[in-house]
Symmetry: none
Subunit: 199 residues, 4 copies
């Protein structure tokens, strides 16, 4: 590593080229087959410059993702939690179906062996978005649209974990069109539906 460089003097062109090269190469060859040397070459940067600003390929990929998806997209709030979650989960599913999905899978993979990657992953991606989602869910609870006795954090996990399960295990297709049905299952539960009251 390099001793505490000065961020003000950083070359922005080199930074952008490096992050772009990271996504391009990973999307094209797969995370595991991309080396830092290849990224450096593709970006027209030197390895030293990369190591000056990022400690690992995973850190690079993580920043590339964050740059790509931009500011923490505000959670939609139309007043109806079902509508809003459908929108949101579909968007996430869409995103993970494209090149970012490949990059993301690689970062999650590296996080399994490198705790600092796991921490960075949680801090820069998972937790901020989880908190936004929790806030929206809390509002829905307050509006009487959701149970008050289920921790919002657990709700978030119930809503999103299936997406990651499919992303990582490849057992089922990631398809935004499945979102509404899935949400209905989560909201209504798996118990048999009671007979509708007759009018």
């Amino acid at each position: 590593m390099v001793p505490t460089p000065n961020p003000e003097r950083r070359n922005e062109r080199s930074r952008r080229a490096t992050l772009a090269a990271t996504i391009e190469l990973i999307a094209a060859r797969g995370y595991g087959k991309v080396t830092i040397e290849a990224i450096a070459t593709q970006a027209g940067a030197s390895k030293q410059t990369i190591y000056r600003w990022w400690p690992s390929k995973a850190a690079l990929a993580l920043e590339a993702i964050n740059d790509y998806i931009g500011e923490a997209i505000d959670f939609p709030d139309t007043g109806d939690i079902t509508t809003d979650l459908t929108t949101q989960i579909s968007e996430v599913t869409d995103l993970l179906t494209g090149p970012i999905g490949t990059v993301f899978r690689g970062v999650i993979a590296d996080a399994q062996s490198d705790p600092s990657v796991g921490a960075a992953l949680r801090e820069t991606i998972i937790e901020p978005r989880t908190r936004l989602c929790e806030a929206r869910l809390a509002a829905a609870v307050a509006a009487g649209q959701l149970r008050a006795d289920v921790p919002t954090r657990v709700m978030v996990e119930m809503l999103y974990s299936v997406v990651y399960y499919r992303l990582l295990f490849g057992t089922d297709e990631l398809d935004p069109r499945k979102t509404p049905a899935f949400l209905e299952y989560v909201f209504t539960g798996l118990r048999p539906l009671p007979p509708r009251a007759e009018p």
Copy 2:
């Protein structure tokens, strides 16, 4: 690789030592920091012998896991699906909290870059157990304990994906004691509970 070795002449002692070394080393140092050379040394085997029987570290780890957990544990069937799933999910959670969890996370990580690892993972671990679970769920559906209009495959994902989410992201503690409450959420759904009918 070596051209089709003869499994009958295989040295069982060497095989066991290798699988044991795999789990020990991965549990001790983490999946990513364990090399095949280290496993060979620890097992008193030669690298050649390992490559003769396993194509990759992930394949080795996968077989080590399967050997460790033994026969596909039959899904319990007490007649009550809640009881049975509580038992089963708690057991899985327990397992993934120990050394096998570390090995498993490594295999999942490698599966993200190597499709053949993904396939092997699904075929030897995920799918067989998923099918057992689906069968039990189908029985519960038939017994009127679960909705008939939700694919059992989706039910399995809803029940287990949260465990893997926590395992891989480390956002929440893996704790078997949380299983009953979680099951209640999944079965009853997140909508507010209707007021109990007065007696």
Copy 3:
């Protein structure tokens, strides 16, 4: 470095190719412009293999020289020290005019910064040949052809240092035809010659 490899299992073909590549490349590009990577590539060897057997480029070059010039050429002994030294010094001059000269200059250069190279240079090249020369000079002293009050080691230095001076500084041409005159100067000294006795 690699932990004490077993010389018996060494690949002789690889060793020869590496030493040959060393001389070829240094002769073609100059010592300083040759990298170990280039030698490895040219020899069809891997860097690791080179580092397994040689600690540095200089060590490689030194062994290449020794292999090239073969066994310590016995010092000639015709009975006449002038004849023998003429032969010997001319041969050394010839050798240093060719590719070996370039390699040799590089090793001497590295010896200035790396004491272990200096030691190896003395032990494998300088000292063995110095001792052979001293032995021949001692015989000449015993035969009354040379002064007995000058240490043979100093004689060796007086006889050979000019060759290295010219090799390293490039102040004067290295030309074997200059050897007889030079020897006459060293043997007779720089003082004016006394007038010959008339017959």
Copy 4:
């Protein structure tokens, strides 16, 4: 390199500090272990400034040597060539025993790979001093103290090459007290001394 800087605006303090740092660091760590970056840091100069005025570490070292030893010391002329050479060679030996010796060895080393360093070395150090020495030797020849049929350039080499041989190979100690005996060998030659005429 920078296109022809204006020497008049040069910062003399920076120049001195750089040359001083060069000698200090090389004396302390050895020529090969000193980098231009280290010299810049030690001198409180920037790398750019160093590259503006010197093309290489060797050029820097060469100028440092020349600054250190000051004006080309005039060759002494007492009328007796033996006395004068003893003085001169002893001084050179003394100089090369100290820090300048280490710097000098480094420059000679670099000259083996970089012809421009060799040229600079000859032009700024070797040749000027050689010419002074040749002039003194020519005077001695004219005075009948030395042979007229030996080129003075060869005499210079015979007188000084042994010093460099010992400096570069480290085969023998550089000791000014050995100078008189050595001179006697060179002047009288290695042939056995004829019996002194009886009085």
